[in-house]
Symmetry: C2
Subunit: 126 residues, 2 copies
Amino acid sequence: MSEARNADGAVNLADKLATFSERWSPRVVAQMNDVQFKLVKMQGDFVWHSHEETDEVFLVVKGEMEIGLRDRDVVLREGEMFVIPRGVEHITRAREECHALIVEPAGVVNTGDAGGDLTARNDVWA
Amino acid sequence: MSEARNADGAVNLADKLATFSERWSPRVVAQMNDVQFKLVKMQGDFVWHSHEETDEVFLVVKGEMEIGLRDRDVVLREGEMFVIPRGVEHITRAREECHALIVEPAGVVNTGDAGGDLTARNDVWA
């Protein structure tokens, strides 16, 4: 984990974002207790899914995204965050590429209960 | 908690920062499971302390801060984050006012084991 950080331990989000281009492929950049901070690049529509065991946070670092819920859509722009409660079905979407910081317990799979082709390998550090 | 959010549930960090001016007085803006996200305004020197029970994250939203550790200082600018491991003595400092997002379990007291005048009331929502 230490090599994933700057020499002094600071994590620069822009620097970490510059290390990968794959979309829907979260990269861990920090861990606090059992909670991981993951950067993700998104464009297009993800897949409807839910996480039965945990809430999940999205904080937009660059661009604009939408979190679709069954009863409404939540638009998030840079500097805005949203907590998806555990068990709530959602889909993430971005018209143009959007970068976000995901905060959730280690071990959470990106596609939740849905699985499928967009399921990313877990615990990959930037 | 719901009234602390925008109508659609999105949390705009700049809007939340505009609701208070007190320094060293963290305001909760979101909670994921047992983890709270708190905005804080800092200027000057805080107090040396540690949290025996948990790691703690600082993510700078605006300005520049320093996290003093016993063996070095870590400078954090906008878009940079740092994980202070549990039990590690630290002090936060900011020459000019700096705004940061703290991520840590609910219930953590800002002055940790040190106590004193800078101890803020806990669980105050913006």
